[in-house]
Symmetry: C2
Subunit: 209 residues, 2 copies
DNA sequence: GATTTTTTTAATCATTTGATTAAAATATTT
DNA sequence: AAATATTTTAATCAAATGATTAAAAAAATC
């Protein structure tokens, strides 16, 4: 089990050291609350180096943001466009993969959602999430099963909201959930691991005609 | 249907004008990204007045934060401790109330979750969410029904995560969801209103033994 | 209506913070 | 080894930003 910091791939080059530090702090505090000096300190470099390599805070942020978003979508892409697996299998794999990802990097969802909130972000259109998700093989399978009466009729958006809501929300709300009961971080992780099995079962229950 | 701004209760007094402006901007941009000058401009007052009435940005923020958190918990409190209603009824009421609340004030969840993320917040302990939720009549009913074999066995936390996840998450992720498909804000609101019926049904499905 | 208190304003301060610059240190090339 | 290019640093700048102050305006009190 590696810590967030150790996890940061080989920071051999100075550029990587800065990027890894930036990722860590941006993810934890968001753009506005992050000081370039904090990044420099975390990276163990002089502040001027940050601007030497990345020109500005904003450009550095854009790089981190793009990579984070791509990384987060990568899991979905992989699963959604696999033409070999069943609908059920996709649900199981998606939930399980995401819970693993979120246990490792619990700050990612709140980071992404906060930063995408207002920004008239070209990123979202750049990445073309719509194409990736709504035109995926997974959605085709889903619609097909609906037409064949195998699963209940439902707007696919409801379906996606339910999967993501049940999977991602606990991590977003973990500070509150942890204070709700007296669960330790280890207990919380156990609960999340239980959900790898539970969520797919609940989801399947929603699909029964 | 009032806009967020008009909704702001009677800003008769200067103090109220400032608080309402602060609430609007803090909710939308978060603490770090908010400039006291923006609040002053939104309130239509001189910047010095903000400090005259509230001493500092931080003190003003603390007031808004406390009120927002209390407001958000108020809905739960009301429903959870009603000893007249059934478990099913509580679920329906809670989901319906929250969806109404979130349609009116969609910025609240991301605001609360972002700001509570790191802060070693005394607020959370001050408000004592634990007492409100985990020792509520609702949880008693839930545990009782489990013991009697009326509903499936499940950690109550899973149950709360599922209700809140399915209810709140779509609003947090709405910027992305809206770009996912081509739904208009009106379409989105329709979807959310559908969920007032759908979510309680899905939840009940999870509880079947 | 004069006096005192409260509210509001314009101007300014001090600190923070993103960014730059010129020089030093290090690495690379010739 | 000398010359050149690259990387790093310390010092500093300029703008943004939270906060204060002293004076003006308005309201309340006598």
């Amino acid at each position: 089990m590696k810590s967030q910091k150790e996890l940061s791939k080989t920071d051999h080059s100075t550029e990587d050291k800065i990027k890894n530090a930036a990722r860590l702090i941006f993810h934890k505090k968001g753009y506005a609350a992050t000081r370039t000096r904090d990044i420099a300190e975390e990276a163990g470099i002089n502040l001027a180096l940050l601007n030497y390599y990345f020109r500005s805070k904003e450009k550095l942020f854009d790089i981190i943001m793009l990579e984070s978003l791509q990384g987060f979508l990568h899991s979905i892409k992989e699963v959604f466009n696999n033409e070999e697996t069943s609908l059920e299998n996709k649900i199981e794999t998606l939930v399980s993969n995401y819970i693993d990802l979120l246990i490792e990097q619990p700050d990612i969802p709140l980071f992404l959602l906060s930063e995408l909130r207002n920004n008239p972000n070209e990123l979202v259109s750049k990445i073309n999430i719509k194409q990736v998700l709504m035109n995926s093989y997974f959605i085709k399978q889903f619609k097909h099963a609906m037409n064949d009466g195998i699963i209940a009729t439902m707007n696919p958006l409801h379906f996606i909201m339910n999967i993501l809501g049940m999977t991602v929300f606990p991590f977003i709300a973990s500070p509150i959930l942890k204070s709700l009961s007296d669960i330790s971080p280890a207990d919380f992780e156990d609960l999340m691991n239980q959900r790898k099995i539970l969520i797919p079962n609940w989801i399947k229950g929603m699909l029964i005609v």
